[in-house]
Symmetry: C2
Subunit: 810 residues, 2 copies
């Protein structure tokens, strides 16, 4: 793993290529070893000349490499699902024969549920560990617990007897760095020391994070959701969900979050959960050997990720369904739900927030909302949509600049500089100094009378004590009140924090450290929402006679809840960036636990989605997928053009004709020549060059492996041997010639073929729904061409006036 | 509509046939009228000989009938979606040309949301009306409000000043029938009068319900969910979602629920919501003219149905996704959610339960559950699964008996007899006399100290007042207590009610009145759960020193909540019958509003599903679909057999060859002969009879209409005219012959074809995912046969050792 230095300076595709080579070498090595070890079994399976279905199974097992995929290729869902059904049938057949097989079949049937349980437990435990570690490291930036360095600030004071309820975060055991170093808790010198320590720790954490990512697991950077979406749609990226990525991402995520950079842990937690899923898949043959089945598990794992990130299991499942997954059968729905629940409860047992709540931001509002408030709610939606669309544009422009200019050559420096800027600018402002999750918590909070935070510094109404007491009696002290000086200070600080967060998040997302986008987006929205909420509240307090407040917002009534505005703002901004709707509403609903606020949430997120969609169709994840050139066929985007399959298929007009094999007219040498002359990943087999009638399709990889194996291990196969794809090999060998090589077993007899007049919209639909890798095109029964997923993606890019060469992989 | 008498005596397929004829006559009539009115426009569009795509559009508009479906046929999803995309492209093209068109395109884009809003409003209003009316009629069985006959019992006493909190259902304004008729409220004669009135009203309501269904809308019977599932999968049943069905189902649902029959209103509410959806679709051309788009709306409408039935919008959406829908794109997810919310809030504004709660059974539990309680929870799951599986078998056996014996000839008598039996047996037992929803509410209820119901008649602990006071102080009066005599009476009555409900529900579901299954299933489960809960509670109270209770269930602690057991039992039984999982958990979660009980719910429903699945794979809706022979391709069931397309396709071996058209070798007369000789719904077009190479596919309906139209309106088309499907008609007409008829515009140039070696599992997958109606089978490029959806269903039935002729429709 130490042969990866320098990779990070280059852009992503380059890494990919490097790792490809490394991986395929590894694989080749394995193949050779296995062939040497089991030549008897193999040639036995291969010499059979009758193409029975059983032989195909044997071959799948016997010839190593047949039926697997190269790195950066797209899987064939149809074939993978067939393989799984074959396996299932075999188990069903055997289970009638012995009790052991019956037991094994039961184990097999429940292995999916067991796997879900394990994923839930492991991801929940990891998420709990990450939460605790990040808490501790974040507090380390401030100071140190004298009782033991492993205590967080809260934990340190929790156990102290000298902590009062009012100032529960002050206790003698917790020393700020200033107290430890210069011995004074307040004053200019203390401020400077604290400032310096804050910045230094931020630099250390971020430097460690980027160095670790760079040295051990380049795939651990970013949020991971664009790549996971691509993987779930059927792409192979070896190592992306491996154990090194898991380890490094877990560690660097803690460091990155603690460093104070404007990033969240939600996207990376999805990546971590998917790594857990992928690694645990190796325990079960069923999932280890089947790419399609494994993707079902990964879909469930991404639900687990969101479930532990927010403590919202239903929201997690819907997130997986709405945002991440490609193929989501009902079975996966049930299993995702189960896994998400297990994970959420594991996390709750670990209890990292110390409040035995499942959710990250627990809020409870007591005031119903009024119909007229929908107007400011929609305003928040518009803000969220605008910010989402602008953020995506700015972030993509910045990331493109990173890929194309010299900026991309210094990833470590970039992270350190951004961390420095963040820390230096963040420290002076209380609301940027605290971690984003704390900030969101505070902004969501509905002020009670006991609250000591600046945001809750309201002036008790009335001057006389009697009136105030009377007042608070009638309204339980929850009425709207005039803002005090603390609130006004907080307002200014929040405005500055909003501007700062808006800019810094653009440059942060996409750096070479694990970085999620949920929390920063929510923070921006929550600040904006709280500002609007306080504004509305004061408006209603001072102008309760205005017609718009009449009837529902009289003096002494609690009518505006600024915390609710903050929550809606957060939802709107997150919706604008990711374009989630239902899952977002459900996550927020699980946070608050009340059906009451579904309508405001719906109004805000829907407005946000509409506004953002009007400015640009893509969410941040799709935009990053396109930026990186992954072969992802967006299931949401409708194909609008009226082109036909013949416009897209290769060969184009004036191109040389399609490379095809004939079913009985070619020799081994000719086939090998064709393989080395072309780079296609598969070849159609036709009856003859004259008729061009389609017989089947054979994959390049299978062909290469089979011919190599036959040449080395099968008697009499030479360059002049005929390659036969026909059902019956002639009983008498060719006069004088060498024995023929029957490759019928590796021939796919059921390639999907469409006619040249098939509209592309239907073709795209077929590719999406069946998960095809390629499709043949015929005209009046004769083979005319071939369409691959890449052709479709290029065509779609062309139609949308984008650069068709941006799609990099197959 | 009066020509339907006698239909009900026959079995369902017969009706279908009758209505088919009636409907297609209606349609023919319409076609003729339109043809007479617009012959110019039509022949204009038809005379064009060049097969451009624009012409096809014109034809779709111009020739009435082309592109529509017969009753009891399956739609072609691919074609419908293509049609919609064409329409969309046309709007996009036009919107660049004028401001009006731009406005129209905006209206078109938002029409889906508008439609959802309307469906939500209408369904919510109807559900509110049904709730109020059913409440009133149910109370009418008991007595009468002297203040006004339109008040329900609760409403009557609500307004009375003489109502006390303890006995809030007793007030002088509300008179029982005994008081009104014999003047005494208690005693034997009063009991007899009340008994007789109860039975008489039940008979009147049920008789009215069945008579109305029989006379005006035979489709209004049953729950409707099996048919809606079939319709959503692409089947056409004309009139099933029409205005008469809506009207009659709404009225008879109220009557059936009020009659005290063991049925619920949840399934029928889904049907009512779908009727609303279908009727409102007619306001928008986009949805009126496109069967696929309309099904998206209906998917959302079924979410609305569950949303208003339980007040659970998220549960409703998941129900639609998990249980009802076939094609559920993300767009539909968003819209369903929106519609479900609108409907839930409309219902809440109407406030039919008078408690301003959204949900049907609001419960709030205060006690956390203990890990060891999972054992009884799983027991409830097993009970639910067993009951579900047995109920399905018994109910299907009974329904089959109704279809095959003389029983089915007397639907009115059957309903009246069952209603009589229900009323006579139900009245003596308090728990069966009350409506099922009330019963469930009472069983879910967590006893507080103030509760006056028999189920809460616990003995206050300790003899001495001091100890009792002390005790209630420490535990807030919520501790487990010993059961009093009321509880023991209630236990016996509940056991009897359980047995009664279990039997009567089997014969009730499937009768010719609107009948839902949710509430009766939940009632059975809730009774069983409450019984177990009380048992556990008493066990814990008397044996709190047992090891299993040690540590969490000491004396004076509240450890068992019988209401929670009732809720879990209800979920388990409903899960056993319908095999819902996630949606069920979410519905129940929305009822209680707490994440706390998700794990118990999950344990109960999952166990229930596994147990029930082990005894029979099908849920009640699938079983009814199969019983009625609808062509429904179950998306959940995996196809396990290893057959190939060639084993399923027609023509079979020894059959006459496939009826095909050639692209330029047949005359109008020959084509007409083939149409009248066969009954296939479409014909493949090949290059020539010799080569059998596939060119396209043409639908019988389109062919008939086009030839008829050409014969009547196009110059020179006679029987000897050649029918051409080729791209270029010869520039000079055939020597001496009449002018040829080009039918290229109606030729589908992109029929999906698979090879004869395609495994059936893949074929089934293709049919399911693409929503195909038929698929052609080729071998080496030559047409070999055809597979229709019906062939697949028959094959699947055969493979599962069922009667393949049970599939009745195309």
């Amino acid at each position: 793993l130490t042969n990866l230095p320098g990779l990070l300076e280059e852009n992503v595709p380059k890494h990919h290529r490097s790792t490809t080579i490394r991986n395929s070498e590894d694989e080749m090595f394995t193949s050779v070893v296995v062939v040497v070890l089991i030549p008897a079994g193999y040639s036995n399976g291969f010499r059979g000349q009758v193409a029975s279905a059983g032989l195909l199974d044997l071959l799948d097992e016997g010839v190593p490499g047949v039926g697997t995929y190269e790195d950066f290729n797209t899987i064939d869902w149809v074939r993978e699902k067939s393989k799984d059904r074959d396996r299932h049938r075999e188990i069903n057949r055997q289970k009638k024969q012995s009790d052991l097989a019956l037991l094994l079949s039961l184990i097999d049937a429940f292995s999916g549920w067991l796997l879900m349980l394990l994923i839930g437990l492991l991801s929940g435990a990891l998420a709990g560990g990450i939460d605790i570690a990040a808490h501790w490291l974040t507090d380390l930036k401030e100071g140190f617990c004298m009782k033991g360095f492993w205590f967080t600030h809260e934990h340190c004071c929790w156990k102290s007897n000298e902590t009062t309820f009012q100032r529960r975060n002050k206790c003698p055991q917790w020393k700020s760095w200033a107290e430890l170093m210069v011995g004074v808790p307040e004053g200019a010198s203390a401020y400077v020391v604290n400032y310096l320590m804050y910045v230094s720790w931020a630099l250390i954490f971020s430097y460690l994070a980027v160095i670790l990512v760079r040295a051990f697991a380049p795939y651990a950077c970013g949020s991971g959701i664009p790549e996971i979406k691509t993987i779930l749609s059927g792409f192979i990226i070896r190592g992306y969900l491996g154990k090194w990525t898991l380890l490094i991402k877990t560690i660097t995520l803690v460091l990155a979050v603690s460093s104070g950079l404007s990033l969240g842990k939600e996207g990376p937690l999805v990546h971590v959960a998917c790594c857990c899923g992928n690694i645990l898949c190796h325990l079960f043959t069923k999932y280890r050997k089947n790419e399609a089945k494994r993707r079902e598990v990964l879909s469930a794992a991404s639900a687990v990720g969101v479930s532990v990130a927010f403590g919202a299991p239903i929201g997690g499942v819907l997130f997986s369904l709405e945002e991440v997954s490609y193929y989501f059968p009902l079975k996966t729905l049930w299993r995702s739900f189960f896994a998400a629940l297990v994970a959420a409860f594991t996390l709750r047992s670990i209890n990292p927030f110390g409040n035995s709540r499942l959710v990250l931001f627990y809020v409870e509002f007591h005031t119903p909302w009024h119909f007229l408030e929908l107007f400011p709610f929609v305003l928040l939606g518009i803000f969220g949509g605008l910010w989402g669309a602008l953020f995506i544009r700015a972030n993509i422009a910045w990331c493109r600049r990173r890929k194309t200019t010299r900026l991309g050559h210094y990833p470590v420096l970039e992270v350190v500089v951004v961390a420095l800027a963040t820390a230096v600018l963040a420290f002076p402002n209380e609301y940027t100094r605290m971690s984003s999750s704390e900030l969101i918590s505070e902004l969501f909070n509905d002020c009670s009378l006991l609250d000591s935070s600046k945001l809750c510094d309201y002036i008790s109404p009335g001057k006389g004590g009697e009136r105030a007491a009377n007042f608070s009696m009638t309204t339980n002290g929850l009425a709207d009140r005039a803002a005090g000086p603390g609130v006004y200070t907080a307002l200014w600080q929040l405005v500055l924090a909003l501007v700062f967060k808006m800019f810094i998040t653009v440059v942060t997302f996409g750096m070479k450290v694990p970085s999620g986008l949920f929390i920063p987006s929510m923070a921006v929205g929550a600040i904006a929402g709280r500002l609007l909420g306080i504004g509305m509240e004061q408006l209603a307090y001072y102008h309760h006679e205005w017609p718009m407040f009449k009837g529902w917002c009289s003096l002494g009534a609690k009518c505006i809840t600024p915390g609710l505005y903050a929550m809606l703002g957060a939802a709107a901004c997150l919706g604008g960036v990711t374009r989630m709707t239902v899952s977002l509403v459900v996550i927020m609903f699980e946070l608050t636990g009340g059906l009451e606020y579904i309508v405001p949430l719906m109004a805000a997120t829907m407005t946000s989605k509409w506004v953002a969609d009007a400015l640009g169709r893509e969410g941040i994840y799709e935009a990053h997928i396109r930026l990186n050139g992954y072969p992802f066929l967006e299931p949401k985007e409708e194909f609008e053009q009226k082109t036909l399959a013949m416009d897209v298929m290769r060969p184009r007009r004036n191109d040389p004709p399609l490379s095809v094999l004939t079913q009985d007219g070619m020799t081994v040498e000719e086939v090998e020549g064709m393989i080395s002359d072309t780079s296609y990943s598969g070849f159609p087999v036709v009856v003859s060059h004259q008729s061009q009638r389609l017989v089947g399709f054979v994959l390049r990889r299978d062909l290469v492996i089979s011919i190599d194996n036959a040449r080395c291990c099968q008697d009499g196969i030479v360059g002049a041997s005929r390659v036969l794809f026909t059902e019956h090999t002639p009983s008498h060998p060719y006069q004088g010639g060498p024995p023929p090589l029957s490759l019928r077993p590796i021939l796919d007899l059921s390639p999907l073929a469409i006619t040249d007049h098939t509209p592309m919209e239907i073709t795209v639909d077929i590719f999406r729904k069946l998960g095809l890798r390629q499709c043949l095109v015929t005209q009046n029964g004769c083979l005319l061409g071939i369409i691959t997923k890449k052709d479709i993606l290029k065509h779609m890019a062309q139609m949308a006036n984008r650069d068709p060469d941006s799609i990099l992989f197959n």
